[in-house]
Amino acid sequence: MKKLLLLSGKGGTGKTTVSAALVRLSQARAIADCDVDAPNLHLVTEQNAGPERFDFFGGDKAEVDGQKCIGCGSCEAHCRFGAITVENGKASVNAYACEGCGVCAFLCPAVAITLAKDLAGKRELYTGGSVFSTATLKMGRGNSGKLVTEVKLAMLKAAPECSLAIIDGSPGIGCPVIASVSGMDLVLAVAEPSGSGINDLKRLVKTAETFQTTLAVCVNKYDVSPEHTAEIENFCRDQGIHFVGRIPFDPMAAKAANEGFSVVDVDCPAGRAVRGIYREVCKILELKQ
């Protein structure tokens, strides 16, 4: 099975729009949404049965037993994350700041602190038609990289014999992106033709290089700035990165998504452009179309 990951660096360039269209064109049987902070792929992928749900536990959180706490303040003094405050002689934990390192529990002379499991999100697996693995991180929680890895593994484990898996990634270059890149055959970056878009694409390329993944780039809404699009194409040529196509700005793209369709479900300029991108991606991955 070939694994294709969509990334973008900058947010809002059209990762999910392109992902949903590629899912439709390829009839991919294995799909995952790794943007666990802001998942959207479920809004445009058809599922004919409800998902199986699983709890996701991230890092542990410190808990203070108020009966045992003597208010000595040793925990507060040594917490590097500013997660503990002692007030009126009792320590309390800010669960959002706590990273679950266990230093406070180790130091507490009254043995008043324990570390407890923390529900940090939920993961869902649809197996009705194609396999679709997705998750939502709870507000303000960390460990998104761990959840991304679980989403990917769940997809791979449940996936039937098939030639292509499509994985929608998150914006940025940090923890969830790094977790999603491992094991991918191709990363398709959806770039935006703007100063910000180019800057972010370059940072993404640098990050992907660290992990030695094959990269391809397409530009979305290219006609908003043909000059920046040309700059992106030149950059790709200089770096030896596959450039696989340009998608025009097309009001049908948002309209289709709002109705729960993908952009290739309607005959429109953006849809036709994505078909061309799909052909190029298949060539790189040596897939039959």
Partner: protein, 274 residues
């Protein structure tokens, strides 16, 4: 007064709104906390930028003192330490710099050394003080960079947040006095907007909404704002000319007529005195 600008979905217009709010305020601080993709500086084009490294601490072992008891390995809940071939090893990407391994080592064989994970850039654009946190590519967590950047808040401060609604966003708005939620009137935009509103509500922050790139009103978003009593601070229509200006990294409040007044009006609605 500190204003957090957030959106959930990427590309909704956080940086556009944050930069223009600061520009309209004139005398203000702008802090770019989207440390994975900091783009505010492309618009501000600050001169005489002063960069300072942002470091975290990593454990370092004195092999001569280490007795191989592995207490540190057992203590580390992030699995950042391994004992291989009679030697302790650090996996820096997963170390949280909690300092626990030093505390548990009975031999005093561990000390901490700084490791650079990013930089903090400080510059000016007229009367706007600009702070940009930049994470080095390949580093997993930008939180230490965000914490350094937020320490520079001063007077009227606009915080440009990362997308999403995870720990890094929480960190950015923890101390904010007001949250400006930038919403894209689409199904994707609305779904992520609800998530980020949930986060702001959880922290009991007063919120207002800027609807950006509107072609036509998106009814579910309008209904949601009404039901939750969320004030709509502004509706900015999709405008190719504005899109082009932003693609070229220009500041609308300085280049397009009416935008300075428009963003000043937002300040008025949220109670910031200019």
């Amino acid at each position: 007064m500190k204003i957090g600008v957030l959106s959930g979905k990427g590309g909704a217009g956080k940086t556009f709104v944050a930069v223009n709010l600061a520009a309209a305020a004139g005398h203000a601080a702008y802090i770019d906390c989207d440390v994975e993709e900091p783009n505010g500086r492309l618009f501000w084009k600050p001169e005489n930028v002063n960069s300072t490294p942002v470091n975290t601490l990593l454990p370092e072992f004195d092999a001569a003192k280490c007795s191989g008891c592995k207490k540190c390995v057992q203590f580390c809940r992030f699995h950042a330490l391994l004992y291989i071939k009679e030697k302790p090893m650090v996996f820096s990407e997963v170390c949280h710099s909690c300092g626990g391994c030093l505390m548990v080592c009975p031999q005093g064989a561990i000390r901490e050394v700084p490791k650079q994970i990013g930089v903090l850039e400080e510059g000016r654009h007229g009367d706007v003080k600009l702070i940009t946190g930049v994470l080095n590519p390949g580093e997993a967590s930008g939180i230490p960079v965000i914490r350094h950047a937020l320490k520079q808040a001063e007077g009227l401060t606009v915080i440009d947040c990362p997308p999403g609604s995870a720990c890094s966003v929480m960190e950015c708005v923890m101390d904010a006095d007001y949250c400006v939620l930038v919403a894209e009137p689409t199904a994707f935009g609305f779904h992520n907007f609800q998530m980020v509103h949930e986060l702001a509500a959880l922290l009991q922050k007063p919120c207002g909404v800027v609807i950006n790139k509107q072609t036509e009103p998106y009814t579910p978003l309008e209904d949601y704002c009404r039901e939750k009593g969320l004030p709509v601070l502004d509706r900015i229509a999709y405008d190719p000319a504005l899109g082009k200006l932003l693609a070229d990294n220009e500041i609308a409040a300085e280049m397009l007529p009416g935008y300075r007044e428009r963003f000043a009006a937002i300040w008025e609605k949220i109670g910031g005195r200019l």
